[in-house]
Amino acid sequence: MSNSCTSTNDTEQSSVPIDADILSLDNDYSEFNNGNTGSINDNVANENLDELNEAAISTEELIPVKAQKITEKVKNYIHSTQRIKDNDYFLSIQKWKGVITSISDETFEAQLEDLINSDTYEIGEFELKEVSPGDLELFKMGAAFYWSVGYANNHNQREKKSIIRFQRLPSWTEDELDKASDRRNDLFDFLS
């Protein structure tokens, strides 16, 4: 499962390995805190015994080193959280590309391609009110949209989110229309 984090204030997507940092931090913290007294636990002591002998460092002296490493990690984490919490962001955990296939009074149906595992496709039913006001002009049969589900971070409050964004493509250029016209003429000459 891929996780990606999007800052909703950025125009570009940026990947922030937040979860990886948290995991690493948790591992370090539990390793350090096993003794609850501030003394290093036996396993770590045994692992580092050879090192201790070689470096002639006492057990007591190892503790500050470990604590220092963890403190640095905590500082980095706080720093990164501080940087991000100024922006709201959306963590998408599943994404689809959809095409509207039918519209009724309050709902619409779409054929959905899973953008993570695109083998079989799915049919999704959505409520009309899920369409953003800014996208209503694009809301038509055959219109394409991206649908993501995940978690939004809103002023450090996490909430579940479903987001639909319609695809915006500029109109045909003259060059593209010329190409279509040329292809049409070639095929017509051949078939008629």
């Binding site: 095409v99 083998d119 799915e122 589900v149 279509a180 078939l191």
Partner: protein
Amino acid sequence: MNQFGLIDPNIAEIALIGTGGGYGESCVIHLGNNEWMIIDSCRDPITKSILPIEYLKEINVPLENVKLILCTHWHDDHIRGLSKILKECTNADFSFAKANDLKKFLLLISLDYEKINRDSSLSSTLEFTDCLEILKRRNSHPYFASQDRMLWSKEVNAQKCEVFTLTPSDITLQKFDEEISTLISEYGPPNRKIIANTPNSKSVVSFIKFGHHRVLLGADLEISADLNEGWDNILINCKSIDMKASLFKIPHHGSENSYHREIWAKMLSQNPIAALTPWNKKNGLPELQMLQKFQTHTDKLYITSPKVNLKPKKRHRSVEKLIKQLNQKLTEVKFVKGVIQCRIKIDDPNDEWKVSPLYSAMKIDSY
């Protein structure tokens, strides 16, 4: 296994290939003398293999023995993989229903083709356009399918084997010209995908004659309000139907709108072989009441795969949970391959069809 062995040149074969609905369907036909025909195409969405080609390879038929390819509809959903079939079947003629206003129709598909450069997933006619390009490169002109058009005629063991198309009618072609303008204005823009409309009166129905045996392949044809279109037009106006068919491919997944009592009464023999493909979307087709209706006409009813319960796609538990919590309704269109293989001796008027349901295909005894 016999059904995958080499076929006798005197044996006619109709193999209906289904995908469970949503990934197309296809028919592979032995016309006699090791000459073959393919109608439409379908593809395995997981392996991407083209199912008619896969089938022919399984029964050891070289692709150069395919002599005719019929495209019953220009929308990709019905013919996925067809351009690859045409490319590999180098000896095959190609047939499709022509539009009267050909230039306008070609503009529609040419605009649709330009979507490749913007977002290829929004194009719906790539396969069809690719087929035309292949024909152009080969300088091989297509046969245009229409009412009572003969596409094939050869003798097998002194028996005539012929392929006729029964649709589209002249009125359908006329109406389609008007529809093309609407399609261009609605789906011409680069961010719109063509959604195939119903009723599908343009779908090409074929009628095949093997000596004294007849086969009616109903494609996706539905009933139209206009008697000059759809099944009513076939029943009233078609001239190439000379005998009743003993094998019937039920149209449009057995939908209510494709059922016409007169087809069974006038075009089909008593207790014919009837085969259909399911449609596993929405409420699914065929509906139970339709199966029961078909069973009043025949006890030899076959389906390429059973209807499946519509469920969401399997995903990581946390993703499934989130989707459920957001109250989103999602169902997976499952791929289920099934083949109904039917064989009969061309030169024996008393022979009966031998039917082999393969993969997920089954006979419907009771529903």
